[in-house]
């Protein structure tokens, strides 16, 4: 029981991060139909930048805020200089562009910072909490709580504010949105910034547990895609459920089957879903079958 609970804790922790990556990915996809392969880099930037700024002497909270701002800026620049000029390009071209951006961000981080592993202190100490025989790191609660707050804020933004409504209008029909006076390009830029900020926050939350390095983005992106695909492409709820599902599956796979192939679990789950039920667990939108 204690062991089972332990796996649940670690599964929910990584699952929350996968959910955040999947959520950022879904947001950009819905707004612009761009499949952003650079989504994992935002998480990496959030973690690495916090570590660097904190080491440089800034208080943890300020460093974290700065890091999230840097991630947001990276998202903005990605849209302005890479996606916007290539707006008329094919899906394949846009995929390649975001992949290139992912390498660029990683290469820059490697040059500007370094190739070392970075860490930041846990927000409320390292003293573990005992729950029914399983040990719980306080940071786990931060990760799960933080993810819930991000999710709630995103829901509020999308459904209760004018900007959020405009963003949803662009996602539903860009031409109609333009006709009613919404600046489509600005909304797309906003979608990239919000996604990057969500990723950056995820990076800040999880780095005390998982540590971070310039090259963690690819695997995170891959797991985030897996989560989004498993949950159902295009659905924010699906992204969250898919993230938690993949996180739990990975944790149980590592615990009961093989820790060597822990990282394969999410990918296999994605491949199975793609082959068997491409709408995913919650896909409300029908997949585009030819």
């Amino acid at each position: 029981m204690a062991e089972f609970l332990q796996f649940v804790f670690s599964g929910l922790t990584v699952g929350a991060i996968y959910a955040l990556v999947a959520l950022g990915f879904t947001l950009i996809y819905n707004a612009s139909r761009v499949v952003n392969f650079a989504q994992g880099e935002f998480v990496m930037i959030g973690g690495v930048a916090t570590a660097v700024l904190h080491t440089a002497g800034l208080p943890l909270l300020v460093a974290a805020a700065g890091a999230v701002a840097i991630a947001g800026l990276a998202g903005f620049l990605l849209h302005q200089f890479a996606i916007k000029p290539a707006r008329d390009a094919s899906i394949a071209a846009l995929i390649i562009i975001t992949m290139g951006a992912s390498l660029l961000l990683r290469g820059l981080t490697q040059l500007v910072v370094d190739k070392q592993i970075h860490s930041i202190p846990a927000f409320s100490g390292e003293a573990t909490i005992e729950v029914l025989g399983a040990t719980l790191q306080p940071q786990t609660l931060w990760v799960i709580g933080g993810s819930i707050v991000v999710l709630a804020m995103l829901q509020f933004l999308l459904n209760r504010t004018l900007v959020g409504q405009a963003l949803q209008a662009v996602a539903a029909n860009p031409l109609a949105a333009r006709l009613v006076g919404i600046k489509v390009s600005a909304m797309l830029a906003l979608a990239f910034v919000i996604s990057a900020v969500i990723g950056g926050v995820g990076g800040v939350l999880v780095t005390p547990i998982t540590l971070t390095r310039y090259d963690v983005g690819t695997v995170l992106a891959l797991k985030g895609f897996s989560a989004a695909m498993v949950g159902g492409m295009g659905s924010p709820l699906g992204a969250v459920i898919g993230g938690l599902f993949v996180g739990l599956l990975e944790s149980f796979g590592a615990g009961y089957v093989s820790s060597t192939y822990k990282d394969a679990v999410a990918v296999i789950a994605m491949l199975v879903v793609l082959m068997v039920a491409p709408r995913g667990l919650i896909g409300h939108r029908s997949a585009e079958r030819v």
Binding site: L103, S226, V267, V290
Partner: protein
């Protein structure tokens, strides 16, 4: 649109043939010959990926998986089962095609980016298996490949492998050009332009994309076998994520849809990575930047871009 006689389509083959034979006869430095042989071998993989990307409009982000499968079958077959390395090339081809078929069949019925995500996953899985199954693959250290012998001639040395790779590339290019101008090739291009229109014309879109994917896998696997046989070594780096992205970069930079472009792209990337051996830290940054710049500003790529310039005058 193309009113030139039919033999014009073999121009890329002629250009490559003249260059490859000239280079092979004039250069006598085994270091340069080795790099050129690597260009020809990688060119095969790029020509294959070009069928998928340039012709059928689908991106594989894990194509190094097939290079890895090709490399490691010629290493594992002789080591574990005592098979002839050249026979293992065929096993690698069979395995790669089978995997491409199993993965591609259901996924390519979906329009859009699904193949990219699935191949990214596949590439990751293959690379994970290669690094983890140390007993079978040698793990991060790689695995030695025995020298192949043909009619008791031992295939070793840069000179021999230069001509083998050049000849294989020639055959690969010839097949690719013929395919490009077959009904299947025309069907590929119609997919690239509009899948809906292609479907309306009665083309089985999913099946055609599957053919392109399986062919690209076969080309990748063959290139992988060739590289491993040439180096006498199967390296995990050949199956890595960055190798997959470099392959995509070869097609994009050389010119998506152009057979000659794929080989030029392979030359650019292989030579660059030799130049960057001493500046290894900049390699990721530079490849990322080049991919983006070409995709945003010079989407045609080098070869079709140049052809367009010449044609416009």
């Amino acid at each position: 649109m193309d009113r030139r006689p039919a033999y014009w389509r073999y121009t890329p083959l002629l250009v490559l043939g003249v260059f490859a034979i000239g280079f092979g006869l004039l250069v006598d430095n085994s270091f340069y010959l080795r790099i050129a042989a690597l260009v020809w071998a990688m060119g095969i993989a790029a020509v294959g990926l070009n069928m998928l990307m340039g012709e059928a409009g689908q991106v594989s982000l894990g194509h190094a998986a097939f290079i890895g499968i090709g490399s490691y079958t010629v290493a594992i077959g002789p080591a574990q089962f005592g098979l002839d390395p050249l026979f293992c090339v065929l096993i690698g081809l069979f395995l790669s095609c089978a995997i491409a078929l199993v993965i591609g069949r259901p996924i390519l019925r979906l329009e859009g980016y699904y193949l990219s995500v699935a191949t990214l996953g596949l590439g990751y899985l293959v690379s994970l298996v290669i690094v983890s199954e140390t007993a079978l693959t040698g793990g991060p250290d790689g695995l030695a490949v025995p020298r192949a012998t043909v009619f008791s001639v031992r295939l070793a040395g840069a000179g021999i492998w230069y001509w083998i790779c050049a000849a294989c590339l020639g055959i690969a290019v010839l097949l690719a050009i013929n395919l490009q101008n077959s009904p299947t090739g025309r069907a590929f291009r119609s997919l690239h332009d509009s899948e809906t229109a292609a479907a309306a014309l009665g083309i089985d879109v999913g099946a055609k994309k599957l053919v392109a994917f399986v062919l690209a896998a076969a080309y990748g696997s063959f290139a992988g076998s060739l590289i491993a046989l040439m180096n006498g070594f199967a390296a995990p780096a050949n199956a890595s994520f960055i190798q997959s992205i470099e392959l995509v970069a070869m097609v994009v930079i050389g010119g998506s849809g152009s057979v000659l472009g794929a080989v030029v792209g392979a030359a650019v990337l292989v030579v660059l990575s030799q130049v960057f051996v001493s500046f290894h830290d900049y390699e990721t940054l530079l490849i990322g930047l080049m991919i983006m710049l070409f995709m945003i500003f010079l989407r045609r790529g080098i070869v079709p871009g140049l052809a367009h310039l010449v044609g416009a005058r």
